[in-house]
Symmetry: C2
Subunit: 136 residues, 2 copies
């Protein structure tokens, strides 16, 4: 599997407001997935969760993750990032605003719940497009 | 998390040719994700892989999976199925044809590689729509 940095074409793809699915691992070892917003910045992926979410517990215990990003219009373009949570921000309402602006063009509406950010460092990746490996 | 069977509205959603991402677990315990076609039949999910795919190894070793299904037009409707591979079919070119017809309207073009099917039994699920749990 290729190592980072990703080539420019993949980098440009990851910068778009694409659907994505994040996998974490539950304490008993089973995988858990959830659709998520992400931001791709300087070769890292930012995700942000409401405090109290189960997957926040899972990620604190086991920081290794896999994030599959699908093309907005065409999910036959897809990139999977294998990495680990390398940094946390425990009070990051400003990050969910950035995410919400990226995806929805406006700040996040819920101002009441604490939001936690996780920065994912990439260890390996693969791309897939129209039935073939996509190496950018 | 709700237990199966899923309610009729979720069942109808899952029957559409939606994008989905399947998570398995690698031998060292880290999660792995890949976008996949699936078929939802009688409360189980069918996925099909080319022989030799890494995730086939992962699933044979650790049958527990998580499958997140996104709405075709609107990925703010999403359903995650937690389950396990309960049955294998080791020579299932006919299944990839069924999958390909469901998604692309035609049989699968590659007739040369052996294809393996996995049937996923659902143990729990959750739906999410427009920022709220979606219970159908």
């Amino acid at each position: 599997m290729p190592k980072p940095p990703v080539p420019p074409e993949i980098d440009a793809f990851l910068k778009r407001p694409n659907p994505s699915v994040l996998a974490s691992v539950e304490p008993d070892g089973r995988p858990h997935t959830a659709a998520t917003w992400y931001l791709w910045e300087d070769g890292r992926a930012l995700v942000n969760m409401e405090e109290g979410r189960k997957r926040l517990e899972y990620l604190r215990r086991e920081p290794r993750v896999s994030l599959t990003v699908l093309g907005q219009q065409d999910w036959y373009h897809q990139v999977t990032l294998l990495g680990r949570v390398a940094a946390w921000d425990e009070d990051a309402l400003e990050d969910v605003d950035r995410l919400c602006r990226h995806y929805m063009g406006q700040p996040y509406s819920d101002r009441e719940h604490r939001r936690v950010s996780a920065w994912i460092e990439i260890e390996a990746w693969y791309g897939w497009a129209a039935g073939r490996f996509w190496n950018g």
